[in-house]
């Protein structure tokens, strides 16, 4: 019997929807998704609140310094006022999605594949009138749908808090930027979901698959960007090497021309990780990176298109791999 034609197919889209709906019901029933989404929400909320408190501290320090200068009859122009862009307060939350969101996606992917193995129901399911790709697609759609819903809850909640807390409110442009970041976050976390899902479906022991997925997560999310960050000469000296040497920005650029190869290698290590592309894109769209703060969305999207393509191609490539790899029911007993 061919791998793709176990039995005649009555209604192609139905099995995908049925499996996806069943997986979503199962996930909501055992509260796992709610618990992990709550954990991500808590981490993101802590990041937002601590960032806001720190900013309020900066403003208070500035106001005190300004009052002192004015009391002395001096101009307050000598001190720089802290800049306030509400979306910048999402920096910590984006980093939590980058790290903890990816880890949660791995857990959802693992559970999605391992649940059928644990209950010994996979072989039984594959005797039903459906193609094997439909089984995989249904599971993947459910997992990515759950991730998308969890991220929508987290980012929606953060946007609401930001709107109420910032004092200036969020504009429609701000909301559009958050919506774009949500879409890219779904694609980014889907990459890790699919890695874990593929490994847990195809490795002999599902617990080993979870550990291998975490090893990949460590490498892509934490190690590769950290190596690139560490190799940045400005991160080697407290306050930055050029600041300590009192060298102006144009002269810094001139000096760094002699280190073009080093910078290419450093950038290459960072670029190898989908996490860095996610960080660059979201930091630019939200204006977290100072050079993009206050710029209109259009030019930012054009400049960041390469990062966007990288993230979506990675997700699509892994999705295609998940559908293409043949399932072996004999190997998928409880292990």
């Amino acid at each position: 019997m061919s791998d793709l034609t176990l039995t005649p197919v009555l209604s192609p889209p139905t099995p995908v929807r049925t499996i996806a709906a069943k997986d979503i019901r199962d996930a909501l029933r055992d509260r796992f998704i709610l618990i992990v989404t709550g954990f991500l929400g808590l981490a993101a909320l802590v990041a937002l609140v601590t960032g806001a408190i720190a900013l309020r501290g900066d403003v208070a320090t500035y106001e005190a310094a300004k009052a002192s200068l004015l009391a002395l009859g001096k101009s307050a122009d000598a001190i720089k006022a802290p800049e306030f862009y509400p979306l910048r307060l999402l920096r910590g939350a984006i980093e939590q999605i980058e790290i903890i969101g990816a880890a949660i996606a791995i857990l959802i992917g693992y559970r999605s594949a391992a649940s059928e193995r644990g209950r010994q129901t996979l072989s039984l399911m594959l005797t039903r009138p459906m193609r094997r790709w439909q089984f995989v697609a249904g599971k993947a759609l459910a997992g990515i749908g759950l991730l998308a819903s969890g991220l929508a809850l987290v980012l929606g909640g953060l946007a609401l808090i930001l709107h109420l807390m910032s004092g200036v409110g969020l504009t429609s442009d701000d909301l559009l930027r958050i919506a774009i970041v949500w879409g890219v976050s779904v694609a980014y976390t889907a990459c890790f979901f699919l890695v874990s899902f593929i490994l847990a479906l195809h490795m002999k022991q599902s617990s080993h698959a979870l550990l291998v997925a975490f090893a990949i997560w460590l490498t892509l999310v934490l190690v590769a960007p950290q190596i690139g960050d560490t190799l940045d000469p400005d991160n080697q000296v407290a306050g930055g090497v050029f600041k300590q040497l009192n060298i102006a920005k144009p002269d810094q650029v001139e000096i760094m021309k002699g280190f073009a190869t080093f910078e290419t290698v450093r950038d290459g290590i960072e670029q190898a990780s989908v996490t860095k592309h996610f960080e660059r894109f979201t930091f630019a769209v939200l204006g977290i990176k100072a050079t993009y703060a206050g710029l209109p969305l259009g030019p930012i999207l054009i400049e960041m298109l390469g990062n966007l393509i990288w993230i979506f191609l990675t997700a699509l490539g892994l999705g295609a791999l998940a559908l293409a790899l043949p399932l072996n029911p004999d190997r998928l007993a409880k292990a």
Binding site: I53, Q96, I99, H208, N235
Partner: protein, 314 residues
């Protein structure tokens, strides 16, 4: 009964052998060793790049008639070449220790051999002692490999010589590293013994690790997750506000990732002046206390492990 054939010793030896046969443990341990090697290279590469930038900048400043400041590399202790190792221990070292702790008890539960062990003439304390001894041996083994890489790096690199005090500081850093990995290993062991399912036994300590590494530093010092894994950026002063003062006072003693970072920075000579750990307890003492608590938890979980049930309950 002689020490060499005591039940604890037999359990420790058998458990360590079983765990070392696991491919995932081997994979994570190998990753740890590779990253320790990378950390040595990173330290050397980054420092020499800053030195070359200084030489270029000095030539540029001299040609434009500006004063030339001192080379920042001269202010850096050679020990700080190993600063990235503290990051990799906090990441992969802690995760490897969790997996080792989990597998030490998880393999017995999964294989269903607990009832067989339970009918042997050995007490629960012998079983618990054996498992903890196996964990101690394996964690020390990982730390020993990391130490050998560090020592070899300092012996091989030209123009780097350590004083007797600096060698002692390096030994102290490796001791602190063993404590930190030991804490997570013991938590992995405790969760592996207490959890009803294999996955929960692994996920509980991983969640604790994520919380300590990425959420607590934000509460105690407004440190974003990516800054928390950069050895230099992680040592920033917390904002001077009432909230952070209280957060450091209340959460500081529990913020073990911070304790490990500050203990490492102090021992490897890259702690900036005027910056201290958020906890009121000195970092090394903080880690020792945490290991004591984790040891008690692991002992309790192992001693209460049901020896009548094979496999996991779910």
């Amino acid at each position: 009964m002689s020490g060499a054939t005591s039940p604890s010793w037999l359990i420790a030896r058998q458990s360590a052998r079983f765990v070392l046969r696991e491919r995932t443990v081997a994979l994570l341990s190998l990753m740890f060793v590779v990253l320790v090697l990378i950390s040595a290279w990173l330290g050397w590469s980054a420092t020499s790049t800053v030195n070359r930038i200084y030489l270029d900048a000095a030539a540029f400043l001299k040609s434009s008639g500006q004063p030339v400041p001192t080379n920042p590399v001269l202010d850096i202790s050679p020990l700080s070449l190993m600063r990235n190792m503290s990051v990799y221990v906090a990441l992969i070292g802690a995760l490897s220790a969790i997996v080792i702790g989990n597998r030490l008890v998880g393999l017995d539960r999964k294989a269903g051999v607990l009832p067989l062990i339970g009918i042997r003439p050995l007490g629960r304390s012998a079983y618990a002692g054996g498992k903890i001894a196996a964990l101690a041996g394996l964690t020390l083994g990982l730390a020993l490999v990391a130490s050998l890489v560090a020592v070899a790096t300092f012996l091989v690199l030209p123009a780097v010589t350590l004083t007797g005090l600096q060698w002692a500081q390096l030994a102290g850093f490796m001791g602190v590293t063993t404590l930190y990995m030991g804490f997570f290993g013991l938590i992995g062991l405790a969760a592996g013994a207490a959890a009803r399912s294999e996955t929960v036994g692994l996920l509980l300590p991983v969640t604790l690790w994520l919380t300590l590494t990425f959420i607590f530093p934000q509460l105690t010092a407004n440190l974003n997750p990516t800054a928390a894994i950069n050895p230099v950026s992680a040592l920033a002063l917390p904002p001077d506000t009432t909230f952070f003062h209280w957060a450091a006072r209340i959460l500081g003693p529990f913020s073990l990732a911070d304790a490990y970072k500050f203990a490492s920075a102090g021992l490897l000579d890259y702690l900036p002046q005027g910056i201290t750990s958020p906890s009121f307890i000195p970092p090394i003492l903080n880690l020792i206390l945490a290991v004591g608590v984790a040891l008690a938890l692991a002992w309790r979980a192992l001693a209460r492990l049901s020896m009548t049930q094979g496999g996991y309950n779910v």
